[in-house]
């Protein structure tokens, strides 16, 4: 069967990874095994070792290990990247997000590195026009 090898420089935690340099290869299944972590056997080629992602079965897999066989073949140990595999669908699903974005929100974030006690003090003096002090005298029976 055919698989496509890719190169990926993104962190494993990246959901929407960028894959490059696709290379189609003919492989054999290693054994009866789960689609979540299949092994593929293909003819050895040193260039294969520069790839770290593959696509097969409509899914994307990280290459977690290469095993060099003594018959001049190589076995790829893989693990499915489910988020990347289904990203186009996942990204449009309704979800409740609890952390995201480029800046804090109005939701208190106890992880944010805020000084526990130190503060930035600001003073705003509101000027007024209340005039000068005066005395008020109240006189009984006063006439003028």
């Amino acid at each position: 069967m055919m698989i496509t090898l890719y190169k990926c420089t993104d962190d494993n935690a990246v959901a929407n990874k960028t894959l490059s340099d696709p290379s189609v290869k003919t492989v054999n299944a290693y054994n009866a095994e789960s689609i979540l972590s299949p092994h593929f056997v293909l003819a050895y080629d040193a260039d294969i070792l520069t790839y770290n992602y593959i696509s097969a079965f409509g899914r994307f897999y990280r290459i977690v290990d290469y095993v060099l066989n003594n018959n001049n073949s190589i076995t790829l140990h893989t693990a499915i990247d489910v988020v990347l595999s289904y990203w186009d669908s996942i990204k449009n699903c309704d979800t409740t997000v609890i952390r995201t974005g480029a800046r804090p929100t109005d939701i208190p974030d106890t992880k944010l590195p805020i000084y526990p006690n130190d503060k930035i003090f600001e003073g705003i003096r509101i000027n007024n026009n209340i005039g000068n002090p005066c005395y008020i005298i109240q006189l009984r029976g006063a006439d003028t």
Binding site: D94, T105, F121, R125, I130, C134, R140, G141
Partner: protein, 786 residues
């Protein structure tokens, strides 16, 4: 050097403006009728001008009618030079600087005073990169000048290009802008001319709305010779060449007799007096005033045009608008435009007419969220018939659009729009309240109130404290009902009336006493008054949770009442907090009304006066008590001396005899002497106490807090303790690796950086059960979305 900074016109129909000096500026500003300018006076002013860092004093020296503004005191870094025939700009233009970032500039036309002239400079308002986007618009707001009535004003702004404050459409920095004086019958106007530093090709962009005739004077700034432009892209504006008025540095005058006219002046050619150093390549192309927003997001601060600037045409956008439902009403009456910034949504509504006039005024980009204003606001001719027809509503969210349509209000009032139950028909409920409580017309019926100045108090006290028996009364103090010191002015009549106490004889002579005639007695007619302690806008610093308690706390020191008032930031965020004292003149009690915009939000009670109780009995008692106390103290001092002498004598006797009995006698004598000393000391303390209380009786302090409070600051102080970030904090790294807490019901397509979910509804995905579980687990643990 520009001489004759202000022309010597005999009329007041001129404008005056000048360039911030590289060298000293000498100017004759006597024509502004600034009859009370001190000989040396300049103030670097911000709303936190008590912070020395922002004080860069410059000087204005006067020689005859010529004033020289020194160039060596940071004038060349001056952001705003404001010259006006008004005295107190403290509430007129306020700038708020936080951490070297200009965060707001408030122009409060309502605080426009009317009395003594003044010159002030706003120096060194720092703007750094963080605030550039905001500053664009703030500085645009600088360019809005407000002139009213008969005031002669010039408003000049110089912007350092390095600060990247304001750019024109062609990308050039604004070097100068000039606000010319505007004369009209009664209306207020806004003018934003802008002039490129190198030439005048940018023309002038003017607009005014008013029912009355308008004239706008524009001067040539010394860049070009000034001729009357021969082409105007005007609409019903007429212009006149005043080039022959060589004594008046006025290039030309624009005028209109019509309401709501829009003007684009494209040529500002040379004026003969300015021909020497500059070219006059003034091109007949019209380039619009421009402000650029970048990265407008849910923390964007938007404009909040002061409602009192209600008849103006050109507005720059930005000031404070709350995240949420924020509506900005630009023009009263039929001219209106609304803007809204709600979360990440940017929405605005323009009238169809506006759209027709300026169909490219705004450019909106959804990703990244940005909003570019290609033109100044200038939207006349919106009528009641078309104001809601064909609106441009920009939103990427149909739900938000529906919300927008539901939320829009049909009132010209912009207050309380965030109240879901707000009823425009009741919009005056709060506004009228303050005017009602501010006008208590209850007249004092138990006596007459007079205001006397502190310098006259001694004379009055001496007279009242005396005993001058007449046929009617024994002492002037019999006629005294109350005597209060107030730490501020109480409104009164302007003309002194000498009061007398007592009735008249049959022949018309006075039976009682005439108060000292060398004192000014200004009649106070009402028993309560409202004293405005001022207001300010409570701005957010971070525009997120850090602005709220317990991370940031806000308090206000209220003078006179001497109370610290805790400000609820959630209530006052981006709203004006005002403090108004309702003062009872008779008792000195007061209520401080805490205003949220025009809403009376809270009150604080207290006492603001120091009441001085004096009558004849008090005076007699006072005098007698003082005398008696002094006599008693003298006697006690004598007793103490005798007791000490006895004690020493007893000790001497005991030492001499050296007999047990003698020792015992001596000890007994010493004990008795010590007892006498102690008693004498006790008596002395008591007498001290009596003396003190007697003294206090003469000048009774009604409440210690008011008396002490009157010695403190006379201004309201807002004290804000902002949250402080650890120095290692890096916002981008934090966003990429930890992410920011939020609670959004959305899709991951609208998220970025490190993103973590509470749960997701995986609909329409043909993954296996195991895969779906893995997807949820991965997203709950968090992923990075590029």
């Amino acid at each position: 050097m520009i001489n004759n900074l202000f022309p010597t016109a005999t009329d007041n129909d001129y404008l005056s403006l000048y360039k911030a000096p590289d060298t000293n500026i000498t100017a004759d500003i006597s024509a502004l009728h600034l009859n009370a300018i001190p000989t040396q006076y300049a103030v670097g002013y911000t709303s936190i001008d008590n912070v020395p860092y922002y004080h860069k004093l410059s000087t204005v020296t006067k020689s005859g009618s010529v004033y020289t503004i020194s160039a060596n005191n940071k004038i060349d870094n001056c952001d705003i030079v404001y010259v006006s025939s008004i005295s107190n700009v403290s509430n007129y233009i306020t700038a708020t600087v936080k951490n070297d970032v200009l965060t707001s500039v408030k122009y409060d036309s309502s605080a426009h005073p009317t009395s003594t002239p003044d010159i002030r400079f706003v120096n060194d308002i720092k703007v750094n990169n963080v605030a550039d986007n905001y500053a664009n618009l703030y500085l645009s707001f600088y360019g809005v000048a407000y002139f009213s009535g008969s005031h002669n004003s010039a408003f000049y702004g110089r912007i350092d290009g390095l600060k990247n404050i304001l750019k024109f459409l062609d990308g050039e920095d604004v070097e100068n802008f000039i606000i010319a004086r505007v004369l009209s019958d009664s209306r207020t106007h806004i003018v934003i001319p802008k002039i490129n530093v190198s030439d005048f090709e940018n023309g002038v962009h003017l607009y005014t709305v008013g029912a009355n005739s308008v004239k706008i004077w524009i001067a040539g700034l010394g860049y070009a010779t000034a001729n009357m432009p021969d082409t105007w892209q005007n609409k019903n504006w007429s212009s006149s060449d005043y080039g022959d008025r060589t004594n008046i540095k006025t290039a030309y005058v624009l005028s209109t007799a019509d309401d709501a006219q829009y003007l684009s002046a494209t040529r500002l050619t040379g004026y003969p007096e300015y021909t020497s150093n500059y070219t006059d390549q003034i091109l007949p192309n019209y380039i619009k005033l421009d402000s650029v927003y970048n990265e407008v997001s849910d923390n964007c601060i938007w404009c909040d045009i002061d409602a009192t600037i209600d008849s103006t045409g050109i507005h720059s956008l930005i000031d404070n608008v709350i995240t949420g439902k924020n509506w900005i009403f630009l023009n009263n009456g039929i001219n209106r435009i609304y803007y809204c910034c709600n979360g990440s949504e940017i929405r605005h509504q323009l009238s169809q007419t506006v759209r027709a006039l300026h169909d490219s005024a705004f450019t909106y980009n959804n990703n990244p969220l940005s909003y570019t204003v290609n033109d100044a606001f200038c939207y006349p001719e919106v009528t009641a018939q078309n104001e809601y027809t064909g609106n441009i509503i920009i939103t990427s969210d149909s739900t938000a659009l529906q919300s927008w349509q539901n939320d829009k209000i049909n009132t010209n009032d912009y207050d309380y729009h965030d109240k879901p139950e707000y009823d425009p028909a009741k919009k005056n409920d709060f506004g009228d309240l303050i005017s009602n409580i501010g006008i208590n017309t209850q007249t004092a019926t138990t006596g007459k109130l007079f205001k006397i100045q502190p310098g006259d108090v001694y004379t009055v006290l001496n007279f009242i404290g005396g005993t001058y028996s007449t046929d009617l009364i024994m002492s002037p103090s019999d006629g005294l009902i109350s005597f209060n010191y107030f730490p501020f002015d109480i409104p009164s009549a302007n003309v002194s009336e000498i009061p007398h106490i007592g009735a008249y004889n049959d022949d018309g002579t006075i039976k009682g006493f005439i108060m000292p005639v060398n004192v000014s007695y200004l009649r106070v007619y009402n028993t309560s008054y409202m004293i405005d302690l001022g207001s300010t806008i409570i701005n957010a610093m971070y525009n997120d949770f850090r602005d709220y308690p317990p991370y940031t706390t806000y308090s206000a020191f209220i003078p006179f009442i001497n109370t610290s008032y805790t400000i609820d930031f959630g209530v006052f965020k981006n709203h004006t907090i005002g403090f108004k004292l309702i003062v009872d003149v008779l008792t000195g009690s007061a209520i401080c009304c805490i205003m949220r915009d025009r809403l009376l939000y809270d009150t604080v009670n207290g006492s603001v006066s120091t009441q001085i109780n004096i009558n004849s009995a008090d005076m007699a008692q006072y005098n007698a008590s003082i005398k008696a106390t002094e006599n008693a103290m003298q006697a006690n001092e004598l007793n103490m001396k005798l007791a000490v002498a006895n004690m020493i004598t007893g000790l001497t006797s005991a030492v001499t005899t050296m007999s047990p009995a003698g020792v015992g006698t001596a000890v007994s004598s010493v004990t008795g002497a010590l007892s006498t000393v102690a008693q004498s000391a006790l008596n002395r303390d008591m007498l001290d106490y009596q003396l003190q209380t007697t003294q206090v009786h003469h000048s009774t302090i009604q409440t210690a807090s008011a008396n002490c409070g009157n010695q403190l600051e006379r201004q309201v102080h807002i004290i804000i303790a902002h949250a402080k970030m650890l120095p290692e904090y890096n916002a981008k790294n934090y966003a990429d690796t930890v992410g920011y807490a939020c609670c959004k019901n959305t899709t991951l397509a609208k998220c970025s950086h490190f993103t973590q979910i509470a749960d997701i509804e995986l609909e329409g995905i043909t993954a296996t059960d195991s895969e779906k579980n893995m997807i949820k687990t991965a997203l709950i643990n968090g992923v990075i979305i590029k």
